[in-house]
């Protein structure tokens, strides 16, 4: 028995423990888009005029800060939900002395989902890099949140400074994209798949109530600091829109409309059906590509400038 235990410890436990420790430490030390955005906000929050506070990939891929004529930063991450939008804004808003506008994208499923339910593995990114609270013990460790190969890839990208956003926190400009090329995907199938992924069964769930609370908290926070809030629903392609459930969509739109009408500092801009966007503007059926993002941001910028004149 002693021999078995000693060998198990020497051959299995010690090497694996050291390997795991090494990977966890490496994950915490290398750069990624989360650590970059946290650091940028820590250093530059006071200079910021417009903050794209969240909205997941719709904001991250769809709003280019460079287009605005005021200092703007894109603080969104892929799949980020309202609870994390609020936590990040809450962390930095006291330092954002010059902040005038907060932009928040609310999509078809935003009111009905939270990160811990859909992509909980991403929570460790917020815990490690933004020092936000963990939902579970394993959220404290990137090692347990991602697969081994994903962690190795994260370390490789960090060591080569290959982070996925540009200096303004925007996604596309770091990507090697041909601006004139059109993606060859099956748009009908993609629309169906993407819409199905966003459907929820329970519209009055606890998550919906919590997300409503988080959105109201964001608005209250902005109101206290004299900041205008622009809530957006970004453009989508018809193959996605056609597969949405009207009840779920209406509930989201009615809620955003009511929030805008109940708060003086809030505007709701619903562009989900905007026909100025053609198929060439989309990366997939519910995300804009860089051409679409620049077009969308220009419209957004003009609208905000007009209202805040």
């Amino acid at each position: 028995m002693k021999k078995f235990l000693i060998k198990s410890i020497l051959i299995i436990v010690i090497p694996i423990s050291f390997g795991a420790l090494f990977i966890e430490l490496a994950l915490r030390r290398v750069d990624n888009e989360y650590s970059y955005k946290n650091q940028w906000l820590t250093d530059n929050a006071s200079k910021l005029k417009i903050f794209i506070a969240g909205g997941g990939s719709y904001s991250y891929y769809g709003i280019n800060p460079e287009i605005f004529n005021r200092r703007t930063f894109n603080g969104a991450h892929v799949s980020q939900t309202l609870d994390y939008d609020y936590l990040i804004l809450d962390k930095f808003i006291d330092k954002m002395d010059s902040l005038e506008t907060v932009i928040l994208t609310i999509g078809y499923s935003s009111m009905f989902k939270q990160l811990k339910d859909v992509e909980s593995f991403r929570i460790s990114n917020y815990v490690d890099n933004y020092d936000l609270p963990a939902e579970t013990f394993t959220d404290n460790f990137g090692l347990f949140s991602f697969t081994f190969s994903q962690n190795i890839e994260k370390i490789r990208r960090g060591l080569t400074s290959d982070i996925s956003c540009d200096t303004n926190g925007f996604y596309w400009s770091k990507k090697n994209v041909d601006k004139n090329s059109h993606r060859n995907i099956d748009w009908i199938k993609n629309g169906l798949t993407r819409a199905s992924y966003h459907h929820v069964d329970e519209l009055n769930s606890q998550t919906y109530k919590e997300n409503s609370m988080y959105l109201n908290k964001i608005i209250d926070l902005c109101s206290i600091h004299g900041v205008f809030v622009v809530i957006l629903t970004s453009p989508t392609w018809s193959t996605y829109r056609d597969n949405l459930r009207s009840e779920q969509l209406n509930k989201m739109v009615v809620f955003c409309d009511s929030v805008a009408s109940n708060n003086n500092n809030v505007m709701y801009l619903n562009m989900i059906n905007d026909n100025r966007f053609t198929n060439d503007d989309f990366f997939d059926s519910d995300h804009l590509n860089i051409i679409g993002a620049n077009k969308f941001t220009k419209i957004l910028s003009d609208t905000i400038n007009r209202i805040q004149k």
């Binding site: 028995m1 078995f4 051959i11 190969s149």
Partner: protein, 481 residues
């Protein structure tokens, strides 16, 4: 708690240390710990049906004694039938209730009736097919006086609940299991090390091969209507490999874990793809279920039908495989799957070759050409047949098969099936198992290499692959049964 989860990686060492250091004084204490650990294991997975498991164990324990003590044949038979009715009733209710009612309603409507049926929402208790079959076998053996009921309640409870085999088998026989746990177990170094190797090999098959084949197979089966014949054929082949790597990987892990407690459980697979006929294939595939069916269905039935000679054998084999099909689930697809297996046996029965084991692969470095052709043919046949085990309806199954038998078969398969490392790891699995085919499992390498450092190197390479190619949250296929 899956065998390839973090939770199990914490659970197992704790139980192991408690078993050998705290509860090691005598067999009773060891069994007590195994029962407690198994209860925790089961409840961690699904606590809802724990009481059902307890009720089933208590009922069968009591009935076995009642049957054993009765001298009067008719009362004894009545008790036996009552016990069987209880066990089969459980299975019928949880697995087949909706299917039977739905079938009845359809039949009623065929004859002019006008009935509708909304299926009941019945949750399937984890492992019910496995533990119920164990207990049915136990009652039959007690009734036939092949075993005496055990008086050791702790040993019996450990037999029913033993966590390595609880959720997906093997369907362990009491006469094999109880003698091992009625005595105190001492630590066996070589056995434990072999168990660790078997766990590692099972993990490799499950995590690296099966889990990485899963998304490709899922995609082909989900989008079968748009796939070419060649892609559908690749999908059928990949599914058979996935199923094998998944279930035999699970079984290797179960056996390996059990060896750490110095308890040997049946190895469910013994390199079935190296068989050259269907009979040998089934002797090496899901061994515990097949032997159970052979002992309790095929043998008695063929004895009853012995006067009909080959026809009797054919009827018996059809009945046996029909039951094997139905055991897998309440769907016509499984019935067709079972019937097809029966058809494949007919030539062997007609030629009197059913019980002749073809020891083709023994002692050769490579198979002969004719054996290789037979193995490949059998592999292809099983790949096509297993399609019915994967699809949700007969219509889809036949559409899938007819999709293969089209001109599209001669085109290049879809791009996404070419994930080189998947092909590579599948080949590694088959090559290793080919050379290890006379051993118990693929990583049974005790004494193979002169220097232990080579063994350790192999462990680390496999471990690296397991960690690197680990994809999250792919369930074991046989957990659904």
């Amino acid at each position: 708690m899956l065998f390839n989860s973090i939770e199990f990686a914490i659970f197992l060492p704790i139980v192991f240390l408690l078993y050998w250091f705290v509860f090691s004084k005598n067999g009773k204490l060891q069994n007590l710990l195994l029962i407690l650990a198994s209860v925790f294991f089961y409840c961690f997975a699904d606590a809802k049906f724990f009481l059902l498991l307890v009720a089933s164990a208590v009922f069968n324990y009591g009935f076995a004694w009642l049957i054993h003590k009765r001298e009067d044949g008719s009362v004894k038979r009545l008790l036996f039938y009552a016990g069987m009715a209880f066990n089969i009733g459980l299975l019928l209710y949880f697995k087949y209730f909706n299917w039977f009612i739905d079938g009845f309603v359809r039949l009623f409507n065929v004859f002019g009736g006008d009935m509708s049926f909304t299926p009941f929402h019945i949750l399937l208790p984890l492992g019910i097919s496995f533990f119920t079959f164990q207990l049915i076998g136990y009652l039959i053996d007690v009734y036939n006086e092949e075993v005496e009921p055990t008086s050791n309640i702790l040993a019996f409870a450990a037999y029913v609940t033993y966590f390595p085999k609880m959720l997906s088998g093997p369907i362990e026989r009491i006469q094999h299991f109880i003698p091992q746990i009625e005595r105190k177990r001492d630590f066996d170094y070589a056995f434990a090390v072999d168990g660790m190797r078997q766990i590692l090999w099972g993990l490799f098959k499950k995590v690296v091969v099966a889990n990485n084949l899963a998304p490709i197979v899922d995609r082909i089966f989900n989008e079968y209507q748009t796939m070419s014949g060649s892609t559908l054929l690749v999908g059928a082949i990949f599914y058979l490999i996935q199923l094998y790597a998944d279930f035999s990987g699970y079984s290797d892990m179960a056996c390996g874990v059990s060896k750490l407690f110095n308890i040997r459980i049946v190895n469910n697979f013994h390199f079935p793809f190296f068989s050259t006929n269907i009979s040998d294939f089934w002797k090496n595939w899901h061994i515990s279920l097949t032997t159970w069916m052979m002992d309790y269905v095929f043998t008695p039935l063929s004895f009853i039908l012995r006067d009909y000679k080959k026809l009797g054998l054919i009827i018996s084999i059809f009945a046996t495989f029909l039951l094997i099909g139905i055991w897998h689930g309440a769907n016509m697809t499984f019935i067709i799957f079972g019937l097809l297996q029966g058809i494949y046996f007919i030539p062997l029965i007609v030629k009197n070759k059913m019980n002749k084991s073809s020891d083709v692969v023994q002692g050769r470095f490579l198979p002969s050409f004719s054996d290789a052709v037979k193995m490949l043919w059998l592999f292809l046949l099983m790949s096509l047949t297993m399609v019915f085990g994967r699809v949700e309806s007969l219509e889809v199954g036949f559409t899938y098969i007819s999709g293969i038998a089209s001109m599209g078969l001669f085109t290049k398969p879809a791009y996404f099936v070419y994930r080189e490392y998947i092909i590579l790891f599948t080949m590694i699995m088959f090559i290793v198992e080919w050379f290890q085919r006379n051993k118990e499992h693929g990583l049974d390498i005790h004494g193979v290499f002169k220097y232990q450092i080579i063994n350790i190197g192999i462990y680390y390479i496999l471990l690296f692959f397991i960690l690197y190619f680990n994809s999250k949250d792919v369930q074991f296929i046989y957990l659904q049964f």
